[in-house]
Amino acid sequence: MGDFLAMGGYARFVWPAYGVAAIVLLGLLGHALWAWRRASAALKDEGKR
């Protein structure tokens, strides 16, 4: 496990690269889901009036 995390001495380059990819992709996903829920909830509200 320690060997795996060490990435042959390149840990401080490999893991940040994967981390940035995860942050950007999850950020895009989170924002898109939040905006969709907000818009469809507002649309439902508007329909009730």
Binding site: G9, F13, A17, V20, A21, A32, W36, A39, L43, E46
Partner: protein
């Protein structure tokens, strides 16, 4: 084409497949990167630093591909006034900017141990940085006008001008002396990269592509819902 021009039809057709595309995207990305981290052998020159490639290369492919989608949709919007075209372009652009950012940062993290520098102003790196700024310019311009149609058209023109950058990115490694290595997958004569390293790369790339399609559809649905909302509130209808 006209059959899909109807926003109501788009809403009906795009809803059901969306969770499946999203689920497949998660499966392919986790599977591809899992193979990359646990199964793929270290490179004989790069050692384990080659693991960065599995994030960097699919992100780079998507960065260019999404720009082609943005430019194509912009052209359709300008020429045929297709009602969904500008919405598609504007929904795709932030996703393309995200892939470009992943490409730039992961490339920089690979460059430091392999080249001895985080950044060089050579043709490949500079043209990808220009791509990132084209995305940001497109996003800013599309939101810069009170009249949404004017903003969409101005941004669409910028997207079309920026298309010139795509062949520059692709062929920069052949046309100029650059630190960046030449193409090793999409090249005449087939890939030069060994199969155990190639497979995780392709699976991750398919995952990134599915992720893009799923989020593009979701963002377009959101934009259409917001447009409907504006029409209900301010359209007097």
């Amino acid at each position: 084409m006209q059959r899909f021009a109807n926003p109501n039809k788009f809403m009906k057709l795009s809803g059901p497949p969306l969770p499946w595309i999203g689920g497949a995207a998660a499966l392919f990305i986790l599977g591809g990167l899992g193979l990359a981290l646990f199964a793929a052998p270290p490179d004989y020159q790069q050692g384990e630093a080659v693991k960065i490639m599995y994030v960097h290369v699919p992100a780079a492919w998507l960065a260019s591909l999404v720009y082609a989608v943005v430019a194509g949709a912009s052209a359709v919007g300008l020429i045929w006034r297709h009602p969904l075209a500008h919405i598609a372009a504007e929904s795709a652009a932030p996703l393309g900017a995200g892939f470009t950012l992943i490409c730039l940062v992961s490339g920089s993290l690979w460059g430091e141990p392999m080249w001895g520098t985080w950044w060089v102003w050579d043709a490949r790196l500079t043209s990808v940085l220009v791509l990132f700024f084209l995305y940001l310019g497109f996003i800013a311009l599309s939101r810069a006008f009170d009249d949404r149609t004017r903003g969409s058209r101005a941004a669409a023109v910028l997207a079309l001008v920026g298309v010139i950058n795509l062949p520059i990115i692709k062929f920069s490694v052949d046309w100029w002396n650059t630190l960046h290595q030449p193409a090793s997958v999409f090249r005449i004569g087939g890939p030069t990269i060994a199969a155990p390293l190639l497979w995780p790369l392709l699976v991750t790339a398919v995952g990134f592509l599915l992720f893009f399609v799923a989020l593009l559809l979701l963002r377009m649905r959101t934009a259409l819902a917001e447009a409907k909302l504006r029409a209900l509130r301010f359209g007097g209808g």
